[in-house]
Amino acid sequence: MSTASTTRLTLPLTALFAVCFVAPLCVLVALSLAAGPDGGVATIGHYAAFVGDRFNASILFDTLWLGVKATLVCLLFGFPVAWICARAHVRWQSVLIFLVVLPILTSVVVRTFSWIVILGRHGLLNQIVLGLGLADEPLRLLYSEAGVIIVLAQVQMPLMVLPILTVLSRIDSNLFDASQALGAGQWRTLWRVAVPLSMPGIIAGCILTYAASITAFVTQTLIGGARLIYMPLFIYQQAVGANNWPFAAAISVIFMVAVLVVVAVLNGFGRRFEKHV
């Protein structure tokens, strides 16, 4: 196929991209430079205001850090799940994969509300803890960062499991047998063979989970409440609550850049592994 016709074929996609992504982004950036709600001279005042205030910077840092913690927890549970799926008998495999994908079929809002029922003061988890006599007082899980991390990890689990599962199931199972035949137990095989070989999937899963976790407005606000302020709630409050659109736009741009940096770092990390696999 000639280059010209290839270009022509990609045109609709390029146009869609321009209209649906680039254009709104330009509007966002332009808005972030507006002096007041009605426009006015361009200013970087909103950026300066954000950077100059340690309170704002700490919200950004907390959000990025929350993403790291949620992603790690998600990986800790997601990898074994993917491993079990990949190694399971074919008959069980489809059932397991269905169970993994199931959460995607319900809305995040519904999933988050179910977690409220589980984590609440009189929720399932606390009833078990109190019933077993593990604590005298109900644990404070809802409206705590630990709760937000648990729920984010579960809600985003498919985003972690599916890329890892895809890579794991492409790995020649003889490699695992070879490792065992050389004397390695299951754990060493997992750590020395399965994990390094599934690194591209792990990185992809981490990028997806991370991006989804730090922008999960619904989960963050419903489980975390107003005292744990993360960037999405902060942006929402500035835009809708305080009607300060230019500032909201500026912090959106800052948030986006910060996330892009994290994703780029992860991506670069993943490239290094892909070379050998």
Binding site: D172, N174, L175, D177, A178, S179, Q180, A181, L182, G183, A184, G185, R188, R192, V193, P196, L197, F273, H276, V277
Partner: protein, 361 residues
């Protein structure tokens, strides 16, 4: 550190069922120390299942596996001391050649200095020293094969299992590697089980060949006996090629039993046949065990040459016999010989010590 003494492998009454399907049926097999036994058979005959049972990846339904007289059934694959070379080599793609070979030694917590010497030793053994720092995908198939073998031997396994190890190599390289592997196996004196569907590979490498079919061992014997004295029609047909002619067993006449072939000829079987008189039998004779003459011969089948195929060192004749069946005769080609022509009426008879063999239907 390696013990040059091989270990004995004994499979006792091994049966493997998958639901109603019996993959391996009541296998008894004793392999002596340092012996190389080939499990030969078509796909689905149970040879790979047997290999997974020996290595411990699949617990058998019935029976026991003994190494040197000790049952190993309770040992997981990583505790059995079985080395496996896979058809696709299964080298770890994310590790260098050196790291691949060192893998099993690291598991055994061999000290760093000894580990390095041992790896170098193994690299030398397979003549791959200069490739130590490469990655597997940078090597050719044959080179990967050597590394797979070196990785396996490095941990000094009790039993070596070769799973179709030459299947992915091209024909010339395959022969070289077969010689190489045979050399290493001899040098190490390691008890080895070779799983293959390639009869040439089995016959050329093994001390004994076990021909398997539908979960059973049909015959286990030296390559010569398997080829020259097959005990079943399956072995006869699967190993080498053969002419099969239906007939009815007759009286004993001197040393050999008489058989009346469906094409009308009456022939005498090789010595030792004892078939019930009047029984339906299949008479078998290999193409290269027959000789051709235009003059009448004892114990011959008569026919007319349909086609002549000069195949390099052999000439293959396609001959139509009485009832419309064909037989093939392969004749060594000597310098200056003239081929017999199509349409020539000929006599084909076995060249002693070969003879007609018959199997009951």
């Amino acid at each position: 550190m390696e013990s040059r003494r091989g270990h004995e492998l004994h499979l006792a009454g091994i049966t493997q069922r998958f639901g109603d399907y019996v993959a391996v049926r009541d296998i008894d097999l004793k392999i002596g120390a340092g012996e190389l036994v080939a499990l030969l058979g078509p796909s689905g005959c149970g040879k790979s299942t047997l290999l997974r049972i020996i290595s411990g990846f699949m617990p058998q339904t019935e029976g026991k596996v003994f190494f040197d007289g000790e049952a190993v059934d309770h040992l997981p694959p990583n505790k059995r001391g079985v080395g496996i070379v896979f058809q696709n080599y299964a080298l770890f793609p994310h590790m260098t050649i050196r790291q691949n070979i060192a893998y099993g030694l690291e598991v055994q917590r061999v000290p760093a200095a000894r580990l390095k010497t041992r790896v170098d030793e193994m690299l030398d053994l397979v003549h791959m020293g200069e490739f130590a720092e490469r990655y597997p995908r940078q090597l050719s198939g044959g080179q990967q094969q050597r590394i797979a073998l070196a990785r396996c031997l490095a941990v000094d396994p009790k039993i070596l299992l070769l799973d179709e190890p030459f299947g992915a190599l091209d024909k010339n390289l395959r022969l070289d590697m077969q010689i190489e592997v045979k050399r290493l196996q001899r040098e190490y004196g390691i008890t080895t089980v070779l799983v293959t569907h390639d009869q040439e590979e089995a016959l050329s490498m093994a001390d004994r060949v076990a021909v398997m079919s539908r979960g059973r061992i049909e015959q286990i014997a030296s390559p010569t006996d398997i080829y020259d004295r097959p005990e079943t029609l399956f072995v006869n047909q699967f190993v080498g090629s053969t002419n099969v002619l239906p007939g009815i067993a007759g009286e004993m006449a001197g040393a050999g039993q008489q058989v009346t072939l469906a094409c009308g000829e009456r022939i005498a079987l090789a010595e030792g046949s004892r078939l019930a008189t009047g029984a339906q039998v299949q008479v078998s004779i290999r193409p290269e065990h027959l000789t051709l003459q235009t003059a009448p011969l004892d114990n011959a089948i008569t026919g007319v040459i349909k086609a002549v195929m000069p195949l390099g060192p052999q000439v293959l004749y396609d001959i139509a016999v009485g009832d419309g069946t064909d037989i093939k005769v392969s004749v060594p080609r000597k310098r200056g010989d003239e081929f017999l022509l199509s349409g020539t009426r000929i006599f084909a008879a076995p060249v002693p010590p070969a003879g007609y063999r018959a199997f009951p239907v």
